[in-house]
């Protein structure tokens, strides 16, 4: 199954978290969340932790990709 991609670049707090949370609640078990700053990364990682999901982070050029899995 391919990952659901959430593009949260350029969005201000808390929209990256809201979009990610909506995607998880809609049933996505495998997501890739694109953000462009450390704060959004920290917030999305904290959200994933509360959902008890696994995370990995990688950089793609100027962007940060957070992979979230159940």
């Amino acid at each position: 199954m391919s990952a659901t991609r959430v593009d949260a670049r350029g969005l201000s707090c808390p929209q990256p978290v809201v979009l990610t949370s909506k995607a998880i609640d809609a049933g996505a078990g495998h997501l890739e969340v694109l953000v462009d700053n450390e704060v959004s990364k920290e917030n999305v990682l904290r959200l994933a932790k509360r959902y008890r999901m696994q995370t990995s982070v990688r950089e793609e050029g100027p962007d940060i990709v957070i992979e979230i899995k159940t």
């Binding site: 670049r9 350029g10 969005l11 201000s12 707090c13 808390p14 929209q15 978290v17 809201v18 949370s21 462009d36 700053n37 450390e38 704060v39 920290e42 990682l45 904290r46 959200l47 509360r50 100027p62």
Partner: protein
């Protein structure tokens, strides 16, 4: 995670440092239960620059300058300096204007609401309840797809503008330049504007708070929002740290005086205390940060946050010039009208700025 300030103990410590700093600044001369109130101090800056002529609240507050420049250097050192902007700047400007109008009906930003509570001013309870109500309304909009759109990366130098502007203000504060008879730079001779800690103490405190708040992402609006929206208590633990530390320091310094009536720079008009902060809370939620957070963001290169902060400074001028800012006697003649216009504006923004899924 390489950032200890963003951990749970980190944010609690940062909140506690802000609480201790605020109460110490009061001890060193800042107005009581005001400490580091962002709204009050931006209002004083507006007065210092002659944007309003309320003679008792005019001073170019070095704390505000320190917040921006401290955050700027912290962001540079942490490689988080990242100029960006272009997410509905004009809307953010007016959100700043109306946030200030609401805050000045209550007489304080969320930080001051906490400091007032920590000093025994129970009127802060209605203010904080209003703040929560306003943020709660903002959360409803956020859940239904509210967004001011994406910010774009900007040229490196564009993010220097706001810190340099603040440095310029510091020169005006330090040298108290007289341009002509009777202004345009004003410093209160009496009232809250005349009460201040020594210049360098204020600046140093501002730089410290700016730096650690940038690292920790401390935000009072975000604290309430995350609890309501996500049941996430991370930022709220920082707010608790501020409240507890300020309360303990007030006890130690003999600054704790419980009651409703006769509190410093406060009034007991409960309805307008509540609605003033409800307007401010909604505006902060729609703009994505409390007044302090907006200053830290503008330091790390967020041009839209800088626009919001300028909106607050101009809003302070409007608020006093149009008889909307409260006094210890209670709400002013046009305060309620200002709140109604502000709520209409914020609701219009909330309803119309939604992405359809």
């Amino acid at each position: 995670m390489g950032n200890p300030f963003a951990s749970r103990p980190g944010i609690i410590a940062v909140g506690a440092v802000i609480g201790v700093t605020a109460t110490l600044l009061q001890y060193f001369g800042n107005p009581p239960n005001m400490g580091v109130c962002v709204a009050c101090f931006e209002r004083d800056i507006a007065g210092g620059l002659g944007f309003h002529r309320a003679a008792v609240v005019q001073y170019i507050r070095p704390e505000i300058i320190g917040f921006v420049i401290g955050a700027f250097f912290a962001a540079l050192l942490a490689k988080e300096y990242r100029p960006r902007g272009g997410s509905a700047p004009l809307i953010r400007f007016f959100l700043g204007v109306f946030a200030m109008i609401g805050a000045l009906v209550f007489l304080g930003c969320p930080w001051r609401a906490l400091l007032r509570l920590a000093g025994g001013d129970w009127n802060a309870v209605t203010g904080l309840a209003g703040l929560a109500a306003g943020i709660g309304a903002g959360v409803v909009f956020l859940k239904s797809g509210y967004s001011l759109g994406r910010a774009q990366a900007q040229k490196t130098a564009s993010g220097y503008l706001f810190p340099v502007f603040m440095a310029g203000l510091f020169l005006l504060a330090a040298f108290q330049v007289t341009f002509a008879e009777g202004g345009p730079i004003f410093f209160s001779q009496k009232g809250p504007g005349s009460q201040h800690a020594p210049l360098l103490v204020s600046l140093g405190a501002g730089l410290l708070v700016g730096a650690i708040a940038q690292r920790s992402r401390f935000c009072t609006m975000g604290a309430l929002r995350d609890v309501i929206l996500l049941r996430d208590f991370h930022l709220m633990s920082g707010v608790a740290g501020l409240l507890v530390a300020a309360f303990a320091m007030n006890l130690i310094l003999g600054q704790f005086k419980p009651g409703f009536a006769g509190q410093p720079i406060a009034h007991t008009d409960h309805l307008w205390n509540f609605l003033g902060m409800a307007l401010a809370g909604l505006a902060f939620a729609l703009a994505g940060g409390c007044p302090g957070r907006q200053l830290f963001l503008s330091g790390e290169g967020d041009l839209d946050a800088g626009i919001f902060a300028l909106g607050m400074i101009i809003g302070a001028g409007v608020s006093h010039n149009f008889s909307m800012a409260s006094s210890p006697a209670g709400a002013a003649a046009f305060g309620p009208a200002g709140i109604i216009v502000g709520l209409v504006f914020c609701l219009a923004v909330g309803f119309t700025m939604r992405d359809r899924a």
